[in-house]
């Protein structure tokens, strides 16, 4: 194995001992087909031109790398925020959906299905489908549909059909099962647009490549702002892990850069109400991928908990499991309370209301110690508009 590929997927779809495609035979031809074409499509000039043009003019990239002066003063280090919250639709999710929708078009698929938890990926998918004029079906847990009415309305306004997942715990993992069932039943015309670096190979790699634009930009932006061509730290929150995968991508082989992922530990890692998959460290297979996940002693997948709907996935992307295994990445966790505190702090020091997910990443500032001249890049994966009800409730505004 060449050094360059140490942290990337191998020819078998594995990241070390994680990943693979543990899927029923019914899905095999679909996955095999995607596996065969995705790299050629992504690397083609036609795709790159179209993708880059959409990222620039539609998504609004490059997203700024903002030097957070007051935050830097408070923590006595140099804090830079990668502003994915300024993207169209308010989060990094759109980088992936715009890319996958183009792949689907290249493959001649005209029906798009997706899963969504809080609705962010569903909205980003419905947006890309509206843009391309493709049929869009979004699976969403019945419980989440009730909790996230504004996003359900957004998806409907964008022309998507929102289908309630009524099995199991009626949340994200069940919506994912429902989407996979749809794909089993509609193998010919349908493209499954997964929202994170999870699922069977090649999804984790494909989504990471589409989110890699985040670190591609950080690389030249940090050079413009500091006297070095690399940051000392890149910090991102991780649920399934797509914004972290994109933030780390171009720094994986640059060991001068410390990569830090922040999981959501909910009420605390050992509280039973958590989503800190790596911290719990139980190996298994979820949605076609071998990785760390939350399960009972009998191997039944359990429901995660976090105040942040975007981080409560019971598994984690296989590349992150591998980064943890090889110690290339540091995985820490933040509780609901930590995240709320960090959200309030960013808002009041910098005038930026972050999404609750991103607030987990920001809480690393108070959990770690940095040197005065370290450049610390934190990815603000999304904006906090969608979390105002929680902030109002918790802060009593």
């Amino acid at each position: 194995m060449s050094k360059k590929n140490k942290y990337q997927v191998d020819e078998k779809g594995m990241y070390g001992r994680f990943g693979g495609a543990f899927i029923p035979e019914m899905l095999y031809p679909n996955i095999e087909n995607l596996k065969t074409v995705y790299l050629d499509i992504i690397n083609s000039e036609a795709f790159q031109n179209e993708y880059k043009a959409l990222l620039k003019d539609y998504v609004g990239r490059p997203s700024p790398l903002y030097y957070a002066k007051r935050l830097s003063e408070k923590y006595n280090t140099q804090v830079y925020l990668k502003r994915e919250d300024l993207n169209h639709t308010g989060a990094h999710k759109i980088n992936n959906t715009v890319g996958q929708i183009l792949i689907a078009k290249h493959m001649g698929k005209d029906r798009i299905i997706a899963e969504t938890g809080a609705g962010q990926h569903g909205v980003a998918t419905a947006t890309a489908c509206a843009l391309m004029g493709l049929q869009c079906v979004v699976y969403m847990g019945e419980v989440d549909i009730e909790r996230q009415a504004p996003n359900v309305a957004r998806m409907k306004m964008l022309g998507a059909e929102v289908v309630a997942a009524k099995s199991g715990s009626k949340t994200l993992k069940d919506a994912t099962n429902e989407a996979l069932r749809d794909w089993i039943c509609n193998p010919e015309d349908t493209f499954y647009l997964i929202g994170s670096v999870v699922g069977p190979h090649p999804y984790p790699d494909m989504v990471a490549r589409l989110q890699a634009i985040i670190s591609e930009e950080i690389k030249w932006q940090i050079k413009e702002k500091t006297d070095k061509d690399y940051p000392d730290y890149v910090i991102a929150c991780v649920g399934g892990g797509s914004n972290a995968a994109g933030s780390f991508y171009h720094f994986l082989d640059d060991e001068r850069v410390s990569l830090v992922a922040v999981e959501a530990s909910g009420m605390g890692v050992d509280s039973g109400e958590t989503a800190a998959t790596i911290a719990l460290g139980d190996l298994g297979i979820i949605h076609g991928s071998k990785t760390f996940l939350m399960q009972s002693d009998d191997g039944q997948i359990t429901e995660p908990y976090s105040i942040s709907a975007g981080l409560d996935y019971p598994g984690i992307g296989p590349q992150h499991a591998h980064l943890h295994d090889t110690k290339r990445g540091s995985f820490i966790s933040a509780t609901d309370a930590d995240a709320l505190e960090a959200a309030k702090e960013l808002t009041q020091l910098e005038g930026i209301i972050p999404a609750l997910e991103s607030a987990h990443a920001l809480s690393a500032l108070s959990k770690m110690s940095f040197k005065k001249d370290d450049s610390v890049v934190i990815t603000v994966s999304g904006r906090g508009d969608k979390d105002m009800a929680t902030y109002m409730n918790r802060f009593g505004f």
Binding site: E25, M26, E188, G288, D298, Q300
Partner: protein
């Protein structure tokens, strides 16, 4: 494995039933097995319930949820089978998803299967390559038949590869669907059965998905060694419970011409 191979060699029109362990009640697994044998069922697939059964439709999803709520687990299922195995002559195949087996430990699982008299397993999300590289020897040495699925989308070369590495039967999924989603067999499906039959495979096929009554069972038997009824039987259990005479009527009705 011998029981399965013997059955496949000696019998045509094999009637097979799938049901979920621990459903509708925790202790129903064995009475249902007894009733099926009495009624003339040839082969049984007992489902190991899983929290995330992504290849199953609502009927089997519901049965899995209920079974887990009842407290069913792989350990308990092994205990139940062990107790009744001496009085059951049918081959017993366990069917389920890979994660609970993985958590149990694949080696421990296989050796327990051997110990309690399980003849084969179907793990739809255990990929062929993974099985071939890591577990095939283990299964074969223990005499446990691993059963692969094929579907209308499976290319011929892959079917032949699966055939060369199977030692019980091949589970021929009748359509692009999850369990219980479709009923009846179309011309397109019959073409697919013919295509598979023209490959001159060594491993007998049993057709599953979409087999729910006498007519679909009989049609399937014209193209394979037998057929599996799953969701339709689980539906019966939902309505009537583990009722011996209802099970008897159900089996006799489907098998009435065979």
């Amino acid at each position: 494995m011998k029981r399965i191979q013997k059955l496949l060699q000696e019998k045509k029109d094999i009637f097979s039933v799938y049901y979920t362990a621990g459903y509708p009640n925790l202790d129903d697994t064995m009475p249902i097995l007894n009733a099926l044998q009495k009624a003339g069922c040839d082969l049984v697939e007992i489902g190991m319930p899983f929290s995330d059964p992504l290849a199953d439709g609502p009927t089997i999803q519901h049965s899995s949820e209920q079974a887990l709520e009842n407290g069913m687990s792989i350990n308990l299922l092994f205990e139940q089978i062990k107790e009744l195995r001496p009085s059951i002559t049918m081959p017993i195949v366990l069917m389920g998803y890979i994660n609970p087996v993985f958590k149990y430990g694949v080696e421990a699982f296989i050796s327990k299967c051997q110990e309690v008299g399980v003849d084969g397993v179907i793990l739809p999300d255990l990929p062929f390559d993974e099985y071939h590289e890591k577990y095939q020897t283990l299964f074969e040495e223990a005499g446990i038949a691993n059963t692969f699925l094929i579907t209308p989308q499976t290319p011929n070369e892959r079917i032949q590869l699966i055939d060369a590495n199977s030692n019980g039967f091949i589970y021929m999924v009748s359509s692009s669907a999850v369990t219980g989603a479709k009923s009846g067999l179309s011309d397109e499906q019959l073409d697919y059965f013919n295509r598979v039959n023209s490959l001159d495979l060594n491993t007998p096929r049993i057709i599953g998905f979409g087999i729910s009554n006498q007519s679909t069972f009989e049609t399937a038997c014209q193209y394979a060694s037998g057929a599996i009824v799953g969701s339709a039987f689980v539906k019966l259990l939902k309505e009537k419970g583990a009722d011996e005479s209802a099970i008897n009527d159900f089996v006799k009705d489907i098998k009435r011409n065979n």
